[in-house]
Symmetry: C2
Subunit: 421 residues, 2 copies
């Protein structure tokens, strides 16, 4: 048998499919050690990167220059020709009915199939339900070719643990779980990642690795959901959740979660993937879905709570309101599936004089919210009400400048805010 | 006004009502600094303690001697006469319909009322729903007397954080939350506890302190429930939960919970208290109750899983089975509401040759399970199947002695057990 299992490390040629939050850092790090190319069908993204602009702000300009000079980023799929390892890092979102939307993974596999050679290895990094890696490659690769797993090609799964906006936990310093379809391919997967990642953890099977990833985010989602349920419950009792949590946190094993909106492209999405697979096999996921239900409810509850607070201090719909933060998460320029944007839109319908600020605001938003955006973080006197939605570092020391203006603090970011979620 | 608010510390006379897991350590510690007495209406418990026997194994014999010599433990309520601080530490269980059973707190208040004097202070340590301390004292004290809160008597709430079987987190080294009905009584509460507890945390109100306590246990219950739901789901997919968790745990923020039965008198009970109060005020507790439902289901699921495993290795109902651990928790002599006992009973119906072992087995169990108990931890060869239900320290190094016998490991206690929950 030819292919990857018989070649030495120096002959690895790696294709990374998808150059977003997961693919770009992987391309950057691995390119220091391997012959690697990056493919993304999004020409805008590829052009940006080749123009030394990373909208996700993960990679330094000098590193982008380096990638550009190597000419290894392209939106032309031919760039992956002659590779023997293909790493898929595309998003795995849900559709409007909260069902897994695996189109991008499927498309990636279709692209790979055009170039796949005997003995090649395909590694998936995207979050999927247990069994999906094998299921999809059977469906896309094997049904449409002579390729048979562990005979003509190999599979690997190594879940990404990229944490947008987190400078402490990076690709190269966190433990990365790896797995593969057999021992031979596991060796290859290992020798690839071990070159630039210190701590690898070998999962015994692809399904174990898939499961381990998806439950990490589900655990987070359910924990936030519980705090959200408690927050709503205590609000009905007129009890301040922040102060309750401050007291609970003094117990040695209390878990420090806070109420809030769950947006983004992981925590609020992944539970639906597992629930989908559970349903297919006739298993239950009641708790997981109960958590999702509460977290989905929160946007309306927060909207109503803010409206109540505005009423309480006798402001009208004409109040001047400042809305701080639109990204889905702090210190991260990501607006995809941001519930803060959704909340802002709800509020904007009722309060015409509401203005949003976000240090990461992009061209799309600049156009969309033209008259309801502000770029200044001063003169807070002109606002009657301030809503802190995202705890960007830029907002850290603002409280003393707010003066007498009432603040609704969704993130427990400031001491002695007028109102807390 | 006379009473506690005008007397000095040296004149505190404290009554502790309820001498169980919470009351006895409190009596022991506070007796070193204060004039304090302990009352428990359970004569058996009082006699045991005065005979230097603490079935909970919390207090050393020499300390029991000390308490005995001081003659401060009694089942005669007259012992609390002339006290000015009353601390209630009785259990707060649920009834057969999972409703709060507050009888013991009510009885304690009724007893206190017989001796209550103007200016006295009542502190509750038992876990209750938010608002219960005030509600119950209005109902029992104020309705049946001239006493009015903050006028003739004061209230405090300081939730217990006793963790049975845990030698690291003790009454005197963990942070204790305190609260009171007004500033005056808060001062008294503080000066009492601060004498023997290093870290106090003042909650702004009794309701905040009550809430902070109840959510600690609810958070634990829901987290175990999630892992239980995932375990059942992955079992249906034939995926090993232990290995999945081992992989997930390599993520920096994954929370290390394990599947299992939730018994005892806190984690499985407290959620119902909050759910009860939520219902009364028309708030939702769906997630909390979904967690309870799963954790209640687990006993049957574990029973079926064990039966399956026994079938898998072709054993019959006549198999010799060893069941290790009957307490609700490791290294703790507590059998109350132990789901391990309930599981053992289920198994005993089907497998006549099942034998339980527990280092803490008490007289009741010795009588109840006479022919199905063993006191020996050797000759494991005679068993066809071993079930590890509780990870008592005594069981730590047994695996190498098990030989070829199959082991069902409910607690992920051993490496390479034949079966895991």
């Amino acid at each position: 048998m030819s292919g990857i299992s018989n070649i030495t490390k120096s002959k690895f040629k790696i294709a990374i499919i998808g150059l977003g939050y997961v693919g770009l850092p992987l391309l950057h790090l691995s390119s220091k050690h391997f012959n690697v190319v990056g493919y993304d069908k999004d020409t805008y993204r590829v052009n940006s990167l080749n123009n030394l602009y990373d909208q996700n702000k993960q990679i330094k300009i000098k590193d982008l220059k380096d990638l550009k000079n190597k000419k290894i980023i392209s939106s032309n799929e031919n760039i992956i020709r002659n590779c023997n390892i293909y790493i898929i890092t595309v998003p795995t979102p849900i559709d409007s009915r909260n069902q897994p939307d695996l189109k991008l993974v499927k498309n990636a596999l279709k692209t790979i199939l055009k170039f796949l050679k005997d003995g090649d290895l395909i590694i998936l990094e995207s979050t999927v339900y247990p069994g999906a890696t094998l299921e999809l490659s059977k469906k896309i690769i094997e049904k449409n070719s002579h390729f048979k797993i562990n005979k003509n090609y190999y599979l690997g799964y190594s879940p990404e643990r990229i944490n947008p906006g987190d400078n402490k936990n990076n690709l190269n310093n966190v433990t990365k779980v790896i797995s593969a379809s057999n021992k031979k391919s596991l060796k290859i997967v290992k020798s690839f990642y071990s070159k630039f990642i210190k701590n690898l953890y070998v999962a015994e099977s692809i399904e174990i690795a898939e499961s381990s990833k998806i439950i990490e985010n589900i655990q987070r989602d359910v924990n936030i959901a519980l705090i959200n349920e408690l927050t709503l419950l205590f609000k009905k009792m007129d009890l301040p959740m922040k102060k309750i949590l401050d007291a609970s946190k003094t117990k040695w094993n209390f878990l420090n979660f806070q109420p809030g909106l769950v947006g983004g492209h992981c925590i609020g999405i992944d539970p639906y993937y597992l629930a989908y697979q559970a349903k297919r096999i006739g298993a239950k996921s009641n708790l997981i879905l109960a958590g999702r239900k509460i977290n989905n409810l929160m946007i309306n509850k927060v909207y109503l709570d803010i409206s109540n607070c505005i009423n309480k201090i006798k402001l009208t719909n004409k109040a001047n309101i400042l809305f701080l933060g639109l990204t889905f998460k702090e210190n991260c320029p990501d607006f995809r599936n941001s519930k803060n944007i959704a909340l802002f839109e709800l509020l904007k319908k009722k309060y015409k004089n509401i203005f949003a600020h976000d240090p990461y605001v992009d061209q799309n938003l600049k156009i969309k919210y033209k008259n309801n955006l502000t770029y200044r973080l001063d003169n807070f006197k002109k606002y009657d009400f301030i809503i802190l939605a995202v705890k960007h570092n830029q907002y850290k020391n603002l409280q003393k400048k707010f003066g007498q203006t009432s603040v609704y603090d969704m993130k427990y970011f400031y001491k002695n805010s007028t109102f807390y979620l």
